[in-house]
Amino acid sequence: MLGRTANGLYWMFRYIERAENGARLIDAGLRMSLTRSEAAEDDWDGVLQSAGVRELYDEVHETLTSSDAIDFLLRDRANPSSVMSCIEAGRHNARMVRTALTRETWEATNECWIEMKAMLAKKARPADLPEIIGTIKRRAGLIRGAFHGTMLRNEIFNFSRIGTFIERADNTARILDVKYYVLLPAVAAVGSSMDNVQWESILRSVSAHRAYGWVYDAELRPANIADFLISNGRMPRSLAYCYEKIVSNLGYLAREYGATHAAHGTAEQTLAALRTRSINDIMDQGLHEYLEEFISDNNRLGQEISDGYRFYH
């Protein structure tokens, strides 16, 4: 396979993952602004930070309003991580690697782009947001479904999956990092309704507010939330789960190529740490520092994969 094709697949799936996570973030933000009457802008400040575009927002807008923030996250082309920018970039990459995709996967991606382009042609009215967010999630689901149902399990599949999980791990780590302070025991005024809203919003950002209740108990506890999103190997958006998948896909590549690269060592190391370190240990050592290091390691892994498999564009 061309290094350019591997690169295109990797980024196609990173962008689609990012688009879907962007929609979830907006969803969580909306939910939060519904649950309280004042200072809604602070919530959007947090959402913009989670999306990693807080500074970029300030370059385009003078003041922070929820309406501008939503538009910036949803459809502003000046924001390369806006949902629409991601869908466009994902589809552009898909078109470039068209020959590596099944017809079903390509069509699901192309139809996602066609529908979202029409839906996001104009600034969205607040009343339409739930429908828009629902459509993004549904479209992303259809791409995933077509991909899983029709793609051969070969290197194409592996590079795509690796892109998905590098992006997802990055997104989950960022969501946690932006809100890490509300999870700290010292600061948290345990049981206050404000904290509950914040905690729930973290879980909502990763569509895990219901699953949390199944795994732990009904009461939200900071350490459990952190554990769920970092160490729980059954939670499909947790760091541990993402790394299980990255390691296994890199493993298939190693067998197919009969060779390993620096990336293999890095990913295995990260996974081993995720499996062995307890959440209390992480919290004691400093959640923020832990997440910062994780994000930077995750980026390094992306670079090592790109080097090892000769990506270019």
Partner: protein, 478 residues
């Protein structure tokens, strides 16, 4: 000759006889059509558009940032050709394609046709499409044009003319395949009722045909790739489609490098050799070391690899000389010279404006003629005399006098019509036909092809860039 601007009652309609009974190849289809609800067909038409849009069968239009991807309109009434009609066409096309390859081999070697005085020397040697780099070189299997798209028009029950021999990089075959796919999806019953010969195996035949002409330097199973100018090229969809259907790599110039005398592509495992390159990049851009130095689309040094017998390029560089419009007028001589027989398919009578006698005739009869640029394509830079305004004709006449050698003229043929679906029912529109031909150790003609249709009433211009659409083309088994 057609002189009126509206619909052309004189044109031969392929579906309906003058007495409104269907012609034989359409009889089964016509029965089906009569039983259809018009609103359902209009809804199906919309459905077809959605199928094309989601599949991404689009072509890029440069300079339109927002509407940069356009659909070529698809009309759902098929163009139907009987088996008998097809056999005649196929024999004529085969003869012509064999002659084209023999002609190319000759002009890049002994130039016997020039020595015999059948073609003027300057027509070859002063022609931009003639590549001196090809002189004395014989491509693998002696095949120059691996893929040909012969443009054919019809003017009557038994009158077929070849309008153009596209021997460089003919496009549109993806529409042939997608049109059929769409028709089968929408109207499966039609394919039970009519015995339509399949076109679906084209990608398989293409791959087989390309692989069979691997270069002498290839050991083992030949590796085939399609070379595209890239994602912004207007035909990118087709390039990706063909690579996908053949199961081969789709590459761009920047993916390739000449290493150790082979053309290699950058893979995730390092550089790997390619043996056969189906290039959809023009000659000029193929090798910046040999042709245009500013080309970023090609592969520096590929011509050396080619001449050393380490890669097959399809079609061969320099094939453009054979489908040049000035050469076209000599095709009857060319066919006879190499096959020893009269051409089975007619050429459209052509005046070469470079000849003073012809120029005089063309200027005097400008309102009856179609005048084309020798190197033009896509329906641009041409004048359709009968439908042009007096002013347009006057302006064109000046251009003609300034550079006569740049033009040829042909009578305005009354192209046959096939109905298209319109709001009020059906209405006849002019069509042409491009069958696709694969050449290896044998000549294979795919039974069908691309029917292009002028969607505007009375228009004779079928090009997609100028309001043309396409139809599924059926060749019946009979």
């Amino acid at each position: 000759m057609v002189k009126n601007k509206g619909t052309t009652p004189l044109a031969f309609d392929e579906m309906m006889n003058a007495d409104s009974s269907p012609r034989q190849p359409y009889s089964t289809y016509n029965e089906w059509y009569a039983s259809q609800d018009r609103n359902r067909l209009i809804a199906k038409s919309k459905e077809a558009e959605n199928i094309f849009r989601k599949t991404g069968i689009t072509f890029a239009v440069y300079g339109h940032a927002d509407s940069s991807e356009k659909l070529i309109p698809f009309d759902l009434i098929p163009r139907i050709i009987s088996g008998r009609e097809w056999r005649r066409l196929a024999q004529g096309i085969e003869q012509r394609v064999i002659a084209l390859n023999a002609f190319l081999d000759d002009i890049y070697h002994k130039q016997e046709i020039v020595r015999a005085g059948r073609i003027p020397r300057e027509l070859i040697e002063k022609n931009d499409a003639f590549l001196p780099q090809m002189i004395g070189f014989r491509p693998p299997g002696g095949v120059y044009t691996h893929i040909v798209g012969t443009d054919i028009v019809r003017t009557g029950e038994d009158q077929f003319y070849v309008l153009e021999d596209n021997a460089r990089t003919p496009s549109g075959v993806s529409y042939m395949l997608e049109n059929r796919e769409t028709m089968m999806q929408m109207f499966p019953e039609l394919f039970h009722q009519n015995r339509v010969r399949p076109v679906e195996n084209y990608p398989y035949l293409l791959r087989q045909s390309l692989a069979s002409l691997a270069p002498p330097g290839c050991s083992g199973k030949p590796r085939v790739a399609v070379l595209t100018p890239g994602i912004y090229n207007s035909a990118f969809y087709e390039h990706a489609f063909l690579a996908d259907m053949m199961g081969v790599e789709l590459v761009e110039g920047s993916d390739l490098r000449v290493i150790d005398g082979k053309v290699k592509m950058r893979t995730t495992r390092g550089y790997e050799a390619i043996d056969v390159l189906y290039r959809r990049v023009d000659d000029d851009f193929l090798d910046p070391l040999t042709f245009r130095p500013d080309s970023a689309l090609g592969v520096p040094g590929i011509m050396d690899v080619y001449r050393a017998g380490n890669i097959t390029i399809a079609n061969a560089p320099g094939t453009g000389i054979s489908d040049d419009k000035a050469i076209y007028s000599y095709m009857p001589e060319i066919v006879e010279f190499y096959t020893g027989r009269k051409p089975l398919l007619e050429n459209v009578p052509t005046w070469r404006c470079s000849e003073p006698q012809s120029l005089k005739y063309v200027l005097e009869h400008i309102e009856e003629l179609v005048i084309k640029e020798v190197h033009g394509s896509g329906g641009y830079g041409m004048l359709v005399g009968p439908t042009a305004t007096r002013k347009e004709r006057a302006i064109f006449a000046e251009k003609l006098k300034a550079r006569p050698g740049n033009y040829i003229a042909q009578p305005t043929l009354s192209l046959s019509t096939v109905p298209i679906l319109v709001n009020k029912g059906i209405a006849p529109r002019h069509v042409d036909l491009r069958p696709y031909v694969l050449v290896s150790d044998k000549v294979q003609i795919i039974p069908g092809g691309l029917t292009r249709v002028a969607l505007k009433a009375g228009s004779l211009v079928v090009n997609s860039s100028q309001g043309g659409g396409t139809k599924d083309t059926w060749v019946l088994e009979d």
